[in-house]
Amino acid sequence: MGLPRFNLHRPQTVDEAVALLNQHAGSAQIYMGGTELLLLMKRGLARPEHLIDCKSVAELGELNLNGGGDWSIGAGVTHRRLELDVDMARLLPSFVELEQHLANVRVRNVGTLGGNLCFAEPHSDPATLLIALGATAEIASPTGRRHVPLEDFFVWAFTTVIEPNEVLTRVLIPPLEENSSVRFERLAFRDRPAANLAYVRRDDTHRIVAGAVGTKPQRLREAETVAAGGGNSAAIFAAATAEVEPVEDASLEVDYKRHLIGVLAKRAVASV
């Protein structure tokens, strides 16, 4: 079936977008690349009466490397722009490599980072790495802006802390110190990843995040402790498999997902 009918709005500013959302709360959706939303609408799984197309909101398209080495990525920045950004290739090559393998080039050309995060499909690569990098989400609401650590952004599969009258405006990535290490591991048996894992080491802090296997990305704190203590591969594997909380889906079972996270954790830590 084709797309059902809807009203299309084209705000020019974040405030206008928030006002529209507020006006049509519950029956409106932000529309950017449409790579997920339009599919759902075609299949009758989503029927928003109002689509709020924010592609003309300049602020959302801003991609900035700030003087302190921190990044500000507008929610409307496409995967393709991230993939091709030369500064990012220099400073965050793991993120660029992740983007290069995200879905396919047609999706990357129109799909946005914000769309990926807000859709909260559990099989997301960017979410996993960004949480490990300590990224923060900036959210605009009718009463102003608020900041939420990305680690606390995801509530459940397809659910985030964003309220129906709020807009994700940007993702902020703190600067990486000279001697930090970033590793992203991914296994994909289809378009979306079957399991992914990010490992970020900055000085004495170790962050390990597992994704794509549960309802949302998960910090593996035990594995982090083992890594900080210089534990061997078997210990990392054991810690990661013990604490990860996968859920079964149509193609993969829990014990296998658990095992994959153990393998990825072991590989990521060993490679740093």
Partner: protein, 763 residues
Amino acid sequence: MTTTGHSIGKAVPRPDAFAKVTGRAQYSSDITLPRMTHAALVRSTSSHGRITNIDTAQAEAVAGVVCVVTGRDMAELGVVDRHYGLTVLDQPILSDDLVRYSGEAVAAVVAETAQIAGEAATLVEVSVDPIEPMLTVDQALEGATLVHPERESAGSDGANIAAYYEFADGDVEAALAGAHYVHEAVFRFPMVAHYAMEPHCCIAAWNGTDLDVIAGTQQPFKVRSDLARMFGLQQNQVRVRVPYVGGGYGGKLLSKYEPLTVALAWKAKRPVKLLLSADESFRTISRHGSVVTMRTGVDADGNIVARDTRVILDTGAYADKGPGVAKKAAYRAKGPYDIPHFRSVAMAVYTNKVPAGAFRGYSTPQVVWAGESAINEIADHLGIDPLQYRRDHLLERGGDFMPSDTPMDADLVGGLQLAADGVRWAVPAPEGRGKGLATGVKDGGGGPSRAEAEVRLLADGSAEVLTGTSEIGQGAHAVYTQIVAEELRCDPARVTPRLPDTATSPFDHGTEASRSTVLVGNAVRKAAMSVADQLGEMVERLLGTRRDFVIEEHRLVFDDGSDAVLAELMARDRNLPVTHEFELGPIVSLSYHDTLVSGKAPLGTPSNFYEVGHGAAEVDVDRETGRVELIRYTSVADVGKALNPQTCAAQDEGAAIMAIGHTFFEEMVFENGELLNGNLAEYRLPLAADLPREGMGVELLENEDGPGPYGAKGAGEAGIISMAPAVAEAVYQACGVRIHDLPLNPQRVWRALNEATTQPGPD
């Protein structure tokens, strides 16, 4: 035999290529008729039950809706017989009593636009009294409920059997009892989707009592015959036209939605277009999932003395081609070996799932998955290299594939060697990698059939070739133009193939079973030779002597370099002034080719030829994740003679790529009868990234030993047959586990590795 070389054996550009790559080629979905309406289907969400009510009132009230049609309308519409199929006519246009699978169409909305029809269709409420669904073949054979209660089970092995076949010779039980070693295993093959890029599409229009149908079908004359029977028409009242078809793979054989669309057009009193979505094509037809139980006995010298095979095919809710698929499964299960004692049983079992029908290779991939895996395991048991074992035991040319049938027409060992060479068989694989191979054989060309072709040489030296072959992307029409050009000694670019139209095209059985190049091709060649003869005789009448010539544009160029304008020769021959060129008409021939019939042959008709596909694989296995990566693959197709080597190789390569799907990841997943992954977001199809890292090799074996024109055999299915057993053997060589269930997805391989090593985990 004419010496070839004018256009045969050359990579002549396809006549449809330019239109297709520039987006100009016309498919059914591109066509709009005046006053045309659009249909959308209402599909059952229940997998088995009795329809108690279909409430259409809300849908009918939607502005722009023309009508809503359910099974109850059929009698009123004067449908003579609402059922269709092949040997078993069990599928209704729209059921008005039982629904038999989740996804079955139970009502249709016709509206001014597809959008309105689609939205109104969501307003139709279908009430169903549920009946326990039969979701697996085991459950169905036990028969707590019957999918078709009005039909008797076709076999004594259980309930719900749609068709049952057995081929046997010798005393298989005694031979197995006396065997030195008996290999026994159960092999499973998943139900998979055809996924042709163009979903099913049909347009139907009534012109008074005559019917005009445009459809993306592989079998227009079968559709014509069905429509005439079902709607009480003479066949000459039914016209079926087939524009370019965006892929078939067997999923567009027989009637699919044509009878329904015709019924809708009848009630709407306007032309109706029914264009499915990809999701709906997933719910239309599939390849049979199968369970093959096989016992193979060998003597002390390794000779195969007996093979006992039992094939259970999940045919889904309607028979479609299932009975034929079962018959061929039984026929092909023994494999290309000289086995004195064998018994092959195959049955198609109804379940409450998407129907299964014809699919590239028919049931050969399923039975070869079992048979060639067994051969690999037997060779391993005997400590013999699997290539050497096959060298010793594969049928020789002239051997019996089946008793009283066409003798083996191929050099099997020579072909397999080519495949082995492609993966450097003699060089041991590095650590973590393995190599494997397999040989698959099917009878090619299908059952008894007639193929006709008409060739017209026009007075300006251009030509037309008319056939009933659907151009489904395979390139058959390119081959026909080459055959005509070869015989007329003209440029193939000056020969135009005509797409099927039952009102004007010569008859053909259908575009299936790798039969077009061989059977229709023979008819094309005969017709072209007849036109060439007529032309030669004309030249002889006019010049007083037989002369060799070629046709260059509108002229005949003779062997001494002199030339003459064709139209002028034709005018002189008919005593017409040359100013009347348009009166000349064409030089025409209509020819046909019938398959042989023999009462002695096991299938009633001897095999036209054997379609042989050898495969050799090299894989890398990640023991930690179970992921298998294809490093190299070589497919060898024995094509007799490649009339167009480029399209021939592309066909085989396409078939092999399709096999990557069922070998590594493809599988239709059901939960309580509902198809969970029947859409392109969730159903995993082969991608460019899945191709072997070091390259996919395709070798064409050309011994000019086929029954088709210039020694051709059929092509296009061979490449899909042998990949799975070749890869499974390579996985075993790499990591020591035997897997008997497809697909070989990472989770399954990991589980097998886990079972093999008591200590799972890292390092």
